[in-house]
């Protein structure tokens, strides 16, 4: 049979859901079942840091039922991701082990940026609709239970992404602690959310014009998808119409909303809060159109699986997004664009030439490129300790599409380009890095140090470099007419580390250009 059956399980803040997909290179991804169970894990974990025994029992019972369903579909593979509700438990490891023992299901905890990236991928999988939208200034808003993620697109690449608390469930819990009259809810939410959104706008939006909002959430999207608000095109709605809809909701009681919209009454409070949050975003970001593609994390998981199994042609260049994001950070911290470009090129030339020696992957190439782009951003804070500063900036800045570990690797590389390299035996006690990750850092650092060494004076002297190997040496021929005395003189310092890592001695040679 030319297709695979895949189950995606999302252990969310207020819902446990599983989608069964059929994936084939001919027909793409087809959803064949969607099972949902309402369980507010977030209510426990956000406020107590633990899940109650009752919730764990319920979760396990449902997961056992899910395994039965998977069995009935004879699924080829499954993935179970826990998001913020699991992530924010204090005893995550113990919890996950307990669940696996009781249900046989192994849950992986998604970092925020990984989770958002999957959401983003599922939207991007909508193909042409997505490409058309992001041609214009677009904000991608992903509202979860614990937090929301706002990402901005510029010229069809995602350039910045920020995680902002609260999400809708957390907001409801916050509101429940306040005493207010129902008609005041609108204003209180506005006060609560607007301040954070305003800061986001000032720092990241600047003078970018936002015309569209892409919305991923569990409540409002559904209403838009169902066509319960007047729309011209399925899933698309003009913001004026949306704002009218929110005003109408304000007048109604929970029961009435549930009846009119055909949603369970238990969902109406979260639906209304989501709508108010979106209203605030529209007000601050300014947009003309809202698009709710109606996708969920499970769709992203299927997309990821299909990609991994090479059953799918990538519909959007996500690496380009990550690079655009890094460049945007660089710009924010006022690093030299030309220098960065040269360092980037040199590093990649070295990486490609060393292919047979380093044994690294395409993904590592991307990490190297990111480190090359970002390793100077620490200068914005201080000209001393640039490495340490860059490390801190990278670690604190989200890049959608990078896992937390990958971000950490990039951060370490940017640090060790200029700072003394720490050996695993020393670092091991203080870090959670695995040996494998550590080695990746070491190798990529060695390459980037060498690339950095080729332009130590920061005068962009190298016009072109070529690499050749001779016995145990790697000959780097730099084609330039500039004075390379400094670079050649200090090359030794970086070369030693390179030689230690790869057991190849790098030699720099200058080749003057003929006129």
């Amino acid at each position: 049979m030319g297709y695979q059956t895949f189950a995606a399980i999302d252990i969310g803040s207020y819902e446990l859901s599983m989608k069964i997909f059929e994936i084939s290179s001919n027909n793409g991804i087809k959803e064949i079942d969607h099972i949902r169970h309402r369980i507010e894990l977030g209510t426990d974990s956000y406020f107590t840091g633990k899940l109650s025994n009752e919730r764990i029992d319920e979760l396990c019972r449902m997961l056992r039922e899910f395994t039965q369903i998977m069995k009935s579909y004879k699924v080829d593979a499954y993935k179970a991701y826990g998001t913020s509700a699991i992530r924010e438990t204090k005893n995550t490891l113990i919890l996950l082990d307990q669940i696996q023992t009781r249900t046989g299901i192994s849950i992986e905890v998604l970092g925020n940026s990984e989770q958002r990236f999957l959401d983003y991928k599922s939207v991007a999988s909508k193909g042409q609709d997505f490409q058309n939208i992001i041609e214009k200034g677009t904000a991608f808003i992903d509202i979860g239970g614990g937090s929301m993620q706002i990402s901005l697109f510029d010229k069809d690449s995602l350039v910045t992404t920020q995680n902002i608390k609260p999400g809708v469930l957390r907001l409801r819990e916050e509101m429940s602690r306040l005493s207010y009259r129902s008609y005041q809810l609108d204003e209180i939410v506005d006060e609560f959310v607007s301040d954070r959104l305003q800061s986001f706008k000032e720092m990241f939006v600047g003078n970018r014009g936002i015309e569209n909002i892409i919305l991923v959430d569990d409540y409002v999207s559904l209403i838009i998808q169902k066509g319960l608000i007047k729309t011209n095109k399925s899933g698309h709605i003009l913001v004026e119409e949306f704002l009218d809809f929110v005003d109408q909701m304000k007048q109604k009681k929970s029961q009435e909303i549930a009846h009119t919209l055909g949603v369970p009454e238990e969902n109406t409070s979260l639906l209304y809060l989501s709508a108010l949050m979106i209203k605030d975003m529209i007000k601050i970001l300014g947009a003309n159109m809202l698009w709710a593609p109606g996708v969920s994390l499970c769709d992203g998981m299927a997309y990821e699986y299909a990609e991994k199994k090479k059953l799918l042609v990538e519909s959007h260049n996500f690496e380009q997004d990550i690079l655009a994001c890094a460049r945007d950070i660089n710009k924010r911290y006022k690093s030299s664009e030309i220098r960065t470009k040269e360092r980037e090129q040199n590093a990649l030339t070295l990486f490609d030439a060393l292919k047979k020696i380093h044994g690294l992957t395409k993904r590592d190439r991307l990490l190297l490129q990111l480190a090359a782009i970002l390793c100077d951003c620490g200068r914005f804070i201080s000209l001393n300790n640039v490495g340490e500063n860059s490390y801190n900036i990278v670690l604190a800045t989200e890049m959608i599409g990078l896992s937390h570990l990958e971000r950490k690797i990039v951060a370490y590389i940017t640090k060790y380009v200029t700072e003394p390299f720490e050996y695993y035996e020393t670092l091991g006690k203080m870090t959670t890095l695995t040996r494998e990750s550590y080695l990746r850092i070491a190798k990529l650092t060695a390459i980037l140090r060498l690339a950095e060494g080729l332009d130590i004076s920061h005068r962009e002297k190298c016009e072109q470099i070529s690499i050749s190997f001779k016995e145990d040496s790697m000959i780097i021929t730099v084609e330039t007419n500039a004075d390379m005395t400094l670079e050649i003189g200090l090359f030794e310092r970086n070369a030693t580390f390179f030689e230690e890592v790869f057991n190849v001695k790098p030699v720099i040679k200058q080749k003057k250009k003929n006129f």
Binding site: M1, G2, Y3, T5, E15, E22, S24, N27, K30, I32, D33, H34, I35, R36, H37, R38, E65, Q68, K71, S72, Y73, K74, L222, Q225, K226, G262, P264, G294
Partner: protein, 728 residues
């Protein structure tokens, strides 16, 4: 400008209970109809009796509960429970009177004329016959009887619901020996002549009610069991003299309202309720006309029954025995020739159903067409190695159901089998629990209904892993998965592998398994959450079309119509100009004499040999016709308190076939009763119209189709090799 009316006023509605009695009257009409073969008339009379039993146990009981609870809320027609109860009493007494008039004056003489003599009183037996029945009593009846005498040490016994009993007044032979008794009677003269005790015996249900006597001069003769017991009463109470013996029968409140929220284990709760049911309040007492007044008084007092709830019966109690009489061999010319459900013309014998369904949707029209494809659908799925899962809702199934067997086999074959068994199906609980346990034992995942809701929808989903992906095969029907009733009830079903319907079917079973509702539906509409709104939307759309001068017409066929919101919407649509033709077999609270509806609504009820059971809904929709079928009537209980499914007929050729079903029924001039403006029903005025019987027409059509197919096969000039052996 046209006058507008408030169509929610109670005067625009009929009371549902009285409408039900009117329905039973229509069935009784069949028993009275001289054009119908004699034994069919017996059957109809028996049906009126069992209908009435159920009506008492559920509806009258419920009214009594309301009166006892002081419930003052008025019904759709503006009547309080007390007013309804009074009116129902009058109507049912009249109905019973007509039942026995029919039995005594028409049917009994006709039976005698046609070679079947019913000996009504044991006193009329000849000496030879008396000897025969006494021997029969000794051999067969006596061992299973439990005679009971009532005195202070033995309180008034439990009289089982619906059981037939003999009550007797007996006197001790040895008058010197005085007993302490509960009941002491004196003759009216005031002088103590005899001290009488109450004695009772239940007529056993394990022995046939009709006992055949030896034939005499080619005439078959029968006597009822209670007459034989009555004759031999002295053998049960040896030391007593029998003063008098009379049969009586009681009906108890059987309204099974389970407090589901409190029931930790629904199954146990139902078992408990079943035991308790026998103890419910007595709501009806039937006694033989002329019962001894002294006996009457004791029974009346002990059962705490009011005079208006006593029915004095001029004949044998409980006419349901007539159904058994129908089964007596040798009277075939007095019965309608039995109809054999025909094979489905488009399905070859032993066809692979999955292949056939993949070609196109298949419509099944029962009982004209056989129910076998539905059973085969499950059977084939159970054996098919590519089938992953079978999911089905079961409401009422037959005793030895082949469907249950196939489901159990599927589970044993490793398929994932999920079955929702509705334990709350009225009067069937005991039966349901037995086979639900059987399924569970076989490894099926059994869901015992949903808290607070009855699952009435009829849906089966088969999930099959095929070359190009998962394929879902769905059967949706208007009738229960019961191979026995499928021979008597007219129902429709569709077999399809339409992807969107398959998605919806998956979502239905996810919901039934307790998971959240789907994010949206493709084609199906479900009660109790969406169905009523869907119907109101469809009716209102016709109204809007009529107002905009676009074609607007509704033809709806169902069993009962009593939802006030739907009726109001129908009135409004009719007032706007929508032509509405309703085919409602039973209860209909809608009136046709409502102002402003311009004769736009007509109601007809078809009562025939088969029980009309299908629910079909046609909407003209400005020329883009839509036809739906489903499990729900337009009743509040279906739309608000049950899980029901409405599904569209999507395939154009199937749509034509379903429309044809409606059209034929609208043309019926023989079995259709028309609701008149005064609320009564009357057969179609046939002047100038040919005699046309819809059910017979369907029998004819399906037989012709089957014959044509056989002919076609015979005319083929190629041989068709048998590819596999029949499994026997």
């Amino acid at each position: 400008m046209a006058e507008t009316y408030d169509y929610s006023k109670p005067e625009y509605y009929y009371n549902r209970e009285l409408s039900w009695v009117a329905f039973d009257q229509r069935v009784l009409g069949e028993a009275k109809d001289k054009n119908i073969p004699l034994f069919e008339r017996l059957k109809f009379l028996s049906i009126t009796a069992s209908n009435l039993d159920e009506f008492f146990m559920v509806r009258v009981a419920s009214l009594k509960d309301m009166v006892n609870a002081g419930y003052e809320k008025k019904d759709i027609a503006g009547m309080t429970a007390k007013e309804q109860l009074d009116a129902v009493n009058v109507a049912t007494h009249q109905l019973v009177e007509e039942q026995y008039n029919t039995y005594n004056r028409s049917l009994l003489p006709l039976l005698a004329m046609n070679g079947l003599e019913v000996i009504e009183r044991h006193e009329d037996l000849s000496a030879e016959d008396a000897k025969f029945v006494d021997r029969y009593f000794q051999d067969n009846v006596y061992p299973v009887l439990t005679p009971m005498a009532v005195d202070s040490s033995r309180p008034f016994p439990l009289i089982r619901n619906k059981s037939l009993n003999l009550g007797a007044l007996v006197a001790k032979k040895d008058e010197e020996k005085r007993l302490i008794r509960r009941h002491l009677f004196q003759r009216k003269s005031g002088t103590v002549e005899k001290e009488l005790e109450l004695a009772m015996v239940q007529i056993p249900s394990v022995i046939p009610r009709i006992v055949q006597l030896p034939e005499k001069a080619g005439v078959k003769r029968v006597i009822l069991l209670e007459q034989i017991v009555e004759r031999n009463m002295d053998k049960l109470f040896l030391n007593y003299d029998i003063e008098c013996v009379f049969p009586f029968r009681i009906m108890r409140n059987a309204d099974l309202s389970i407090e589901e929220d409190d029931a930790a284990d629904l199954l146990k709760e139902i078992e408990k309720q079943l035991k308790m049911r026998q103890w419910g309040q007595v709501i009806r007492l039937e006694v033989e006309e002329g019962m001894d007044q002294r006996l009457m008084e004791i029974i009346e007092k002990e059962l705490m029954i009011e005079e208006q709830d006593i029915y004095y019966i001029p004949g044998p109690l409980d006419l349901t025995f007539l159904m058994k009489m129908y089964g007596l061999p040798g009277f075939e010319p007095l019965k309608t020739k039995p109809y054999t459900p025909q094979p489905v013309a488009e399905l070859a014998q032993d066809a692979n159903l999955f292949e056939e369904i993949r070609k196109h949707d298949i419509l099944l029209h029962h009982p004209y067409e056989t129910f076998a494809p539905v059973v085969d659908f499950i059977k084939q799925a159970a054996k098919d190695p590519d089938v992953l899962a079978i999911k089905q809702t079961l409401y009422r199934v037959s005793g030895n159901s082949p469907i249950i067997a196939a489901l159990a086999q599927a589970a044993e074959n490793g398929k994932q089998v999920s079955v929702l068994v509705e334990l709350k199906a009225r009067f069937d609980e005991e039966n349901n629990i037995i086979w639900a346990k059987k399924l569970e034992k076989a490894g099926c995942h059994v869901i015992y209904g949903l808290v607070g809701l009855k699952t009435h929808c009829k849906i089966t989903l088969v999930v099959r892993k095929e070359e190009h992906g998962i394929c879902r095969y769905v059967h949706l029907g208007t009738g229960n998965y019961n191979d026995q009733t499928a021979k008597l009830y007219t129902d429709l079903g569709v077999l399809t592998c339409n992807e969107a319907i398959g998605e919806d079917a998956t979502a239905v079973f996810n919901m039934l398994s307790g998971y959240s509702e789907p994010l949206g539906w493709n084609h199906l509409a479900l009660a109790p959450l969406w169905l009523k709104d869907k119907f109101l939307f469809l009716i209102n759309r016709e109204k809007d079309n009529a107002l905009a001068n676009r074609p607007a017409r509704i033809v709806a066929k169902m069993n009962s119509l009593c939802d006030p919101d739907v009726i109001k919407a129908l009135y409004e649509a009719a007032a706007a100009g929508v032509k509405i033709e309703l085919i409602v077999r039973g209860i209909c609270c809608l009136r046709t004499d409502v102002p402003g509806i311009h004769n736009n609504i007509s109601v007809r009820s078809i009562v025939g040999n088969f029980l009309e059971h299908a629910r079909i809904f046609y909407f003209e929709n400005a020329g883009k016709e839509e036809i739906y079928m489903g499990s729900a009537d337009w009743m509040p209980r279906n739309l608000e308190r049950r899980v029901e499914i409405l599904f569209p007929v999507l395939d154009e050729s199937l749509k034509k076939k379903v429309w044809h079903v409606l059209e034929v029924q609208l043309n019926d001039t023989q079995k259709a009763h028309i609701l008149k403006k005064d609320g009564t029903y009357e057969k179609v005025d046939r002047r100038g119209k040919p005699l046309y019987n819809a059910q017979e027409e369907f029998c004819r059509e399906y037989m012709q189709l089957a014959t044509a197919k056989v002919k076609e096969a015979k005319e083929q000039r190629t041989f068709i090799p048998e590819t596999h052996m029949d499994e026997t």
